[in-house]
């Protein structure tokens, strides 16, 4: 009889810390091999299309940046909250409310100068995300209600509001489709690379992530936030206003997720549609986890997943495999990352029953 069990390591394995990212990718590909074959594609060909393909053409390469932009926002949003020990699973809903706010703002800023119009959209979008994050945060702080449940449950609520608006008051009067009117042209995010959809949203995301990196690592507030996340009791004892830190982290996280919605409305879609997010908030959890909750990690993970999204699209076209394959890969990737993080702290002990008798 062979038994396997986890035993805690004396110290987290350092080599695994560095290897988590690459190891996760390799293991995920091995695990998803069966699905690729079942979809009727050659695995090597499929993975080449998935990973390498997007990087071989200028257009696809820039599309990776486009796909990564909302993930940078949602990934950073989730990472900030998680670092404070606030388990915000509601980036999806916060993104949608940010998108609603941006879509509304975009239609009323028509007469303004472009800079002001964009600033109003950004401000209202961030505010929308923060407002959606406020309720669960207050319920957690005042009543002790688990935010995992409340933030998660508000996601479908936000989606229902979107579909309600699009099928009711906001239905496009011209096309009669469930999509909002287009936002004013002066509210469009300017493109930063010619002949591509790469827009101001990417710059905004990187600037905010750099700011978050600075605040988390280099300021008293960041240290207080990390202390709160690592040990709320010790943080409270040391005089840190744990409730205020959690509230601040929750609202910042919501605002950041709301900006993902703004970047989609103002940079890509120019209107609100009910499929505008399609799980970008949830993918933010993958990004944050894969990036080890650090800002540089979030950037790398968002780029990688952006690559995967673009690759999945072309895989669908070139190889005829369903694009849902990308979702399977994404899901498997998250599970593998979490497993590897557990392995970092534990080792697997393998024992054979016969040997165990007699000697210790």
């Amino acid at each position: 009889m062979i038994s396997l069990r986890l035993e805690p390591r004396a110290a987290p394995a350092r080599w695994l810390g560095l290897a988590v990212g690459p190891a996760a990718v390799v293991v995920t590909f091995i695990l998803t091999l069966g699905f690729v074959v079942a979809a009727g594609a050659s695995p090597i060909q499929a993975y080449r299309t998935f990973i390498v393909g997007p990087l071989t053409s200028r257009y696809d390469g820039l599309e990776v940046l486009v796909a990564a932009t909302p993930l940078l926002f949602t990934g950073a949003a989730v990472a900030i909250a998680f670092r404070a020990g606030y388990w915000n699973i509601g980036a999806e809903g916060q993104l949608l409310v940010g998108a609603i706010a941006a879509a509304w703002a975009g239609t009323v800023v028509g007469g303004m100068p472009q800079v002001l119009a964009i600033a109003v959209m950004i401000g209202l979008g961030a505010l929308g995300g923060a407002v959606w994050a406020l309720g669960p945060a207050l319920m957690r702080i005042i009543l002790g209600i688990d935010e995992v449940v409340t933030t998660l449950l508000l996601n479908p609520v936000a989606l229902l509001i979107v579909t309600g608006l699009l099928n009711g008051p906001w239905r496009n009067p011209v096309t009669q489709f469930p999509e909002s009117r287009e936002i004013a042209a002066n509210a469009h995010f300017p493109h930063i690379i010619p002949d591509s959809r790469v827009n101001l949203g990417l710059v905004l995301a990187l600037v905010l992530i750099a700011a978050a990196w600075f605040v988390l690592g280099r300021t008293p507030i960041g240290l207080r936030l990390r202390a709160t996340g690592l040990s709320p009791d010790a943080a409270r004892f040391a005089g840190i206003g744990v409730e205020r830190i959690i509230l601040g982290a929750a609202l910042t996280s919501g605002a950041m997720a709301g900006l993902a919605g703004v970047s989609l409305v103002a940079g890509i879609n120019f209107q609100l549609t009910d499929g505008i997010s399609s799980g970008l908030g949830y993918t933010g959890i993958v990004v944050a986890t894969l990036g080890a909750l650090t800002m540089p990690g979030v950037i790398l993970a968002a780029l990688f997943l952006g690559d995967l999204v673009v690759g999945a699209d072309s895989a669908g076209l070139e190889l005829g495999v369903p694009s849902q394959l990308a979702d399977i890969v994404k899901g498997a990737l998250l599970l593998v990352v979490i497993s590897l993080l557990v392995l970092r702290r534990n080792r697997i002990a393998i024992r054979r029953g016969t040997e165990a008798k007699g000697a210790v």
Binding site: E7, A10, A11, R218, T219, P220, G222, L223, R224, R226, A227, L230, S231, D233, A234, A235, R236, F237, A238, G239, I240, G241, A349, R351, A356, K357, G358, A359, V360
Partner: protein, 503 residues
């Protein structure tokens, strides 16, 4: 009567990287003996017992129970082999009752008869003289009470080898006496007891033989009656120890910390403190004695700003600080050294960050945290308080003694007006204990008022100028240190104050 030892450890070795925690340990424990395991922190006692209980795997060596080699891979194997252990860190399910915890994992059949279990627990509690309400929820119990549940749990499992890791730290003398009486009864039934302790007088009182560990190796096994305290202490530390002595003739100054009719409720909403009033003078150490769970936790929490009183008033140097938050309490000039060091320190943060955690705003240049100032500050305190660590080390990697020095450094370097300190030397080795006590006396000499909450009577008697005794949330005795002795304190702590003319 067969003389096969109950437990035999042969050549047990355990390494952590370059550190040898257990170096070819040989230990035999006979049936019916209390075998004391003596040694400083880090000597390897706990590692050895974790190996015996299946919590740690040795790199080499063998364990024999009743002369037969056994493979112990988990506590389950250990329990099956008849080994029970009461550790310093409790394995209790807090939302469950005492009875449920005791029977957990030791039930048979399909039905759980909780009423029967409760009766059995009450019976065992009575039989072994360990007071515990079977229906109380464990989460609401103090550290001391929880430890009693752990002891009951091991006894309930009918172990033939009982490992006790510093079991007496939270008991009053009377309870220690009845625990010892219970141990003797167990021994008479042929059960082997392994008793880990720092306290020589306990080792002397209860043990048949004593094995001393130092730096992971056995430095000697003696029959207790053949060895004197001095020899044991020398074996243990490798150098003669000198107890810290309180300079006599304290001239307590004006009151610095005043507590007036303070009341508070426990987390379960029961009255935990009732109209407690006292003063601590400048340059005075006021000791608070009492069995844990009699209001000390609440008193310390109130003074640390971690909880608000239901009535009463706290004054520091004439300023009302009742109901202040932790940051305000620190700013007012109270230094806080809590019972649980891990609750004061964020383990994953660095030593430097932890040292600055209460005063982060002082380490900013603009909005930025001044890393270099943080490290400089840490280096200074590391040197001054002889902490064995580097500024960048994660606090979690520090030993108990060094962690306590870290907390001391954070607090004492601010020259607080008053210091609230709880169980400052619990779990520390002799060297670290002396150091901590010396620092507290230095603060007294500096003119700080010190409120010292401790369950270690020797500590209270060695340090305090005056003592108050808490029992069920009330002060049941106040006496000068000169008038105090363990017997008298023990009576008060056990609630037998009617036998005692209250001072």
């Amino acid at each position: 009567m067969n003389d096969t030892p109950a437990v035999e450890l042969r050549d047990v070795t355990k390494r952590y990287g370059s550190l040898v925690a257990n170096d070819r340990i040989e230990l035999t424990v006979a049936r019916g003996e209390v075998h004391a395991l003596l040694g400083e922190n880090g000597a390897g006692k706990t590692t050895l017992m974790r190996i015996l209980y299946g919590l740690t795997r040795p790199d080499a060596g063998a364990v024999l129970i009743d002369g037969r080699p056994v493979a112990i891979h988990s506590p389950k194997d250990a329990i099956a082999a008849g080994i029970g252990m009461v550790t310093q860190h409790f394995a209790l399910v807090k939302p469950m009752t005492v009875a449920e915890n005791v029977i957990l994992g030791a039930t048979d059949g399909m039905r759980v008869r909780l009423d029967v279990a409760a009766a059995k627990v009450a019976d065992a509690a009575e039989r072994f003289g360990i007071r515990a309400d079977p229906l109380a929820r464990v989460g609401g119990l103090s550290v001391g009470e929880q430890q009693r549940v752990e002891i009951l749990k091991a006894l309930y499992r009918k172990c033939r080898v009982l490992i006790l890791d510093e079991p007496t730290a939270v008991l009053v003398p009377q309870e220690v006496a009845s625990l010892f009486a219970a141990l003797r009864r167990l021994c008479a039934e042929g059960i082997a007891v392994i008793f880990i302790s720092h306290k020589l007088h306990e080792v002397r009182e209860i043990s048949t033989r004593v094995t001393v560990l130092r730096r992971g190796a056995v430095v000697g096994t003696r029959t207790t009656s053949d060895v004197d305290d001095r020899e044991l202490a020398l074996l243990m530390v490798g150098r003669p120890t000198l107890g810290v002595q309180r300079p006599s003739a304290a001239s307590a100054g004006a009151p610095i910390l005043r507590v007036e009719a303070l009341s508070a409720t426990s987390r379960q909403g029961l009255p935990a403190l009732r109209h407690v009033s006292f003063e601590v003078g400048r340059g005075e150490i006021l000791g608070v004695a009492g069995v844990s769970g009699n209001g000390q936790t609440e008193l310390v929490d109130l003074l640390c700003g971690m909880r608000s009183p239901s009535a009463g008033r706290i004054e520091l140097d004439g300023t009302d600080i009742t109901g202040s938050k932790p940051a305000e309490v620190v700013a007012a000039g109270i230094g806080r050294i809590p019972e649980d060091r891990h609750a004061a320190v964020v383990g994953e943060l660095s030593v430097a960050e932890n040292l600055a955690l209460e005063h982060l705003s002082e380490f900013g240049s603009g909005p930025q945290l001044d890393r270099r100032a943080l490290v400089r500050h840490a280096e200074e305190l590391i040197q001054r308080f002889t902490i064995k660590a580097r500024p960048d080390d994660a606090a979690v990697t520090l030993s108990g003694g060094n962690l306590q020095k870290l907390v001391l450094a954070r607090v004492l370097s601010r020259d607080p007006k008053a210091i609230v300190v709880s169980q400052p030397t619990r779990g520390l080795d002799v060297g670290a204990t002396e150091y901590v006590r010396g620092e507290l006396l230095a603060q007294r000499a500096r003119g700080a008022g010190v409120l010292l909450v401790s369950e270690d009577l020797d500590e209270l008697l060695a340090l305090a100028d005056r003592l108050i005794v808490l029992y069920e949330g009330q002060i049941v005795g106040a006496l000068a240190a000169a008038d105090a002795d363990p017997a008298r304190l023990g009576l008060l702590m056990a609630g037998l104050f009617h036998l005692e003319p209250v001072a």
